[in-house]
Structures are given as structure tokens and as C-alpha cells.
């Protein structure tokens, strides 16, 4: 470590390279550690990133993206928006079509004997089952997302409410969804950060979030590294700009086993 680093100062040259991700090895670790604890260096990092943003805008030759990206993106976000009760999407159309086909099949069945009747009974049962499951999923989603929804965690009588978090993680989709309760809202400059604890290696950032005035929080994070099997998850309190690795002790932690 240089004497400048020890004296709470980092050379502007090094800070610029750090912002660019152009440092390696010890230099990267030392500057990163210092920036994590030095407010003036973090402020300078913000200014450097603003300068880099302006440079990028001026230096990159302008090109127009194909329209298909917009279509793909809007379709992706539409899938994430909770549907209102008045909207009927593809799912409804699909089920309606399936029901029509079923009715046609039932008419044919009348003429085609017992095998057809049994097959169609099976299909009908599957359709009912799917509709029942769909209705249940819809009811759950509507309850959770309702404007007046209350979130309660029941604990032993007279016990002080404890922070809790529920994690739903899909390696295949590279997503993790978090629902937390009884988490105190943090002051300015701080955020909660979720970490994936892999079976091997260092914790991996899995999204940052704030807790609301009701002390509840939820977050959907995409882009988990593929092929990284989680051993568990942990939540720490970090600076709002995030950390390279957990800088505080976990306030919540759980394992998959």
C-alpha cells in the first residue's frame, strides 16, 4: 500500500483507473478498500463517472438499434407487470381456445365411443385443474399486490417482531425474488444488499433494496451468474453505491439445506 493510501488519500490517476476498471491485483484491492470507506474519494468517483459518461456520449459513433430490441424489451417488462383484473392476455385467449377445442372434441366424442369419452374426460379434468391452479395463483398475486394488502408475520406471543426475509431463487432463470418484513428503513446513503453465498468462492451481489415506511421490502433481481449453485443467502447494510464484498456483518442469513 502506498503512503498516500495510508494517509487517506488516493492519487487521482489511480482513482480514474479504478473507475475505469483498469486496475488489477493488489492495486485494485487497496483502492477499492479505501474508496469503500472514504467519502471524498466516493464523491470524486461520482464526478469521474459523470466525466466518463460525457466522454462516452461524445466518442461513440452514433448507431440506431433495430426495432426488434424495443419489441423484445417491452414484451419482457409486460410479463413482469401484474395484470389488472380487467385485462385478459394470451393466457386467457389460450384457455378460451382450449375450451372451444374441448367442446368440439366433446361433440365428436359423442359419436366416437368410450375411448374418446375417456380421453376427453381426462383433458377436461386437466383443463379444470389448470384453471383452478391459475385462479389460485391469480388470487394470491391479487392479494399480495392489493393496495390495502397487509403483511403480517406471526411470532410467539409477546415476542418482539424480528426481521425476516423469504428468498425465491431460480438458477435456471438467473433470478432471485426477495420479500422481507420488519426491516427498519435505512438513512440516506445506505441500502440493504442481498448476497448469494455460493458453495465455493466469495459472496456474489444479488441486488440492493430499500425498506419502505411500513418496514417491508421486495425486490426482483435478474442476472445471477449461471452455474453458481447457492449455498445460501445473506443480507447486509452497505453504502448506497454498493460494495465489492460485504462490508458489514449479515443482519439476516439462511442456507438452502
Amino acid at each position: 500500500m502506498t503512503s498516500e493510501t495510508k494517509s487517506h488519500e488516493v492519487r487521482p490517476d489511480d482513482l480514474t483507473l479504478y473507475a475505469l476498471g483498469a486496475l488489477e491485483g493488489n492495486e485494485l484491492a487497496q483502492i477499492g478498500k479505501h474508496v469503500g470507506t472514504c467519502a471524498s474519494c466516493r464523491a470524486e468517483m461520482q464526478r469521474i463517472n459523470a466525466d466518463l459518461g460525457a466522454y462516452a456520449m461524445a466518442a461513440a459513433p452514433e448507431s440506431a438499434p433495430p426495432g426488434r430490441v424495443r419489441q423484445r424489451l417491452m414484451a419482457a417488462i409486460a410479463r413482469e407487470v401484474p395484470r389488472s383484473s380487467g385485462r385478459r392476455g394470451w393466457s386467457f385467449a389460450f384457455r378460451f381456445g382450449l375450451a372451444v377445442l374441448l367442446l368440439v372434441a366433446l361433440a365428436l366424442e359423442w359419436k366416437s365411443g368410450r375411448a374418446w369419452r375417456e380421453e376427453n374426460a381426462r383433458l377436461k379434468h386437466e383443463l379444470w385443474q389448470e384453471q383452478a391452479e391459475s385462479a389460485q395463483a391469480k388470487a394470491i398475486a391479487e392479494t399480495i399486490m392489493a393496495p390495502d394488502a397487509m403483511k403480517l408475520t406471526l411470532v410467539a406471543a409477546n415476542a418482539k417482531p424480528q426481521p425476516t426475509a423469504h428468498i425465491y431463487c431460480s438458477q435456471q432463470k438467473g433470478r432471485v425474488f426477495l420479500m422481507a418484513n420488519n426491516l427498519a428503513p435505512l438513512g440516506p446513503g445506505k441500502m440493504y444488499e442481498l448476497w448469494l453465498l455460493p458453495k465455493q468462492g466469495a459472496p456474489v451481489p444479488a441486488g440492493m433494496f430499500q425498506s419502505g415506511a411500513d418496514w417491508n421490502a421486495h425486490m426482483l433481481h435478474s442476472g445471477l451468474p449461471s452455474g453458481m449453485e447457492p449455498k445460501g443467502f445473506a443480507i447486509t447494510i452497505e453504502p448506497a453505491q454498493g460494495s465489492l464484498k460485504p462490508s458489514t456483518q449479515p443482519i439476516l442469513m439462511g442456507t438452502t439445506s
Binding site: D13, D14, T16, L17, Y18, A19, L20, G21, A22, L23, E24, L28, G32, A43, M45, Q46, R47, I48, N49, A50, D51, L52, G53, A54, Y55, A56, M57, A58, A59, A60, P61, E62, S63, A64, P65, P66, R68, V69, R70, R72, L73, M74, A76, I77, E80, V81, V204, P205, G207, M208, M219, L220, H221, S222, G223, P225, A240, Q241, G242, L244
Partner: protein, 185 residues
Amino acid sequence: MDSSAAVKMAHAEGDSVLVARTRRRDQDAFAQIYDRYSRLVYSIALRVTRNASAAEDVLHDVFLQLWQAPERFDAARGNLPAWMAVIARNRAIDRLRQQKRTVDPDETILMSPTDMGSEVERTSTLAKIGGLLQTMPEAQRRAMEMAFFDGKTHAEIAASMNEPLGTVKTRIRSALTAIRKALQG
């Protein structure tokens, strides 16, 4: 307030209002942000990856991230196009390196003395920086391009340019200092 200041304020408010609406899951507001800045994000991603398909993926990822975590952009402290430009570059570099970056400035809030959210201001500022880049010494411009667009480390740049590490550091820092002066001027 003169007319340019009025335009500036109206457009600046536009970005922050659109982000606020996006936080409330307003797809129309999000689409407006896309229409305003997709060209910028795609251009940077294409410059870094030099591959149209990869640039499309970066464009998709950057905007999907904005949709999923719009709270990471603090409209009161930064400007949206500069924030998206840096994220686009970082995502594209991630793709080049095929790994998660050790430093992730995605979560860094940008502060800028210039309101790049105003079309008028942005055009004027970018013209100034464009002129600066044209007159910048070749070695300095090249070092900056290798660091920013090619994602090379300072050691790789020094080896490529056959120059001492210290010289490369100074070149990059000087380039950025000149850009900051142009932003402030």
C-alpha cells in the same frame, strides 16, 4: 428565464418525471426513456463489443435493469444519459470479459455539473467534448479509448503502447481532466 433555460428545465424535469413514473411501473414512461436513450446505449455497446448482436443484448439488459431497479438512479443528483452511458459501457465490457466486473459502478450515482438531460445542453456539451477529442494528442486519445472502450487494464495499455505505466496513468487522467474542464466551461 430565457427560452433556452425554459427548454432546459422542461426536458430536465422530463427525465426525472419519467424515471419516477417508471418506479411506479408505468410502461409508457419507460418506453419514452427507451426512445430517448436507446440510440445512445446501443452506440456505446456497439463501439465496445463491435458486434451488433452483442450490442442488442447489452441494450436489452441495460434497459431491463432500469425497469427492474429504477431506484438506483437518483434524478436529484445525477443525469440519466451519463448514468446510462456508463452502465452501457460496463455491461458491454462485462460481455467482452465474459465475467462479472470486480468494480461495478452501475450502483454509483453520477454527479455532473452539466445538465445532460437537456437536449440543448447535451448537444452543446457534446459538441465541445467532440472538438476537444479531435484536438487531443493521438497517444492520449488512444490510451483513453483503450481504457474505456476496449476495457484494457493500465498494464495492458502500457504494454500495447510500449510506454511506462506512469505515463499511461497520466495520459488517461489528463484526458479526463480536459473533459471535465470542457463540461464545466
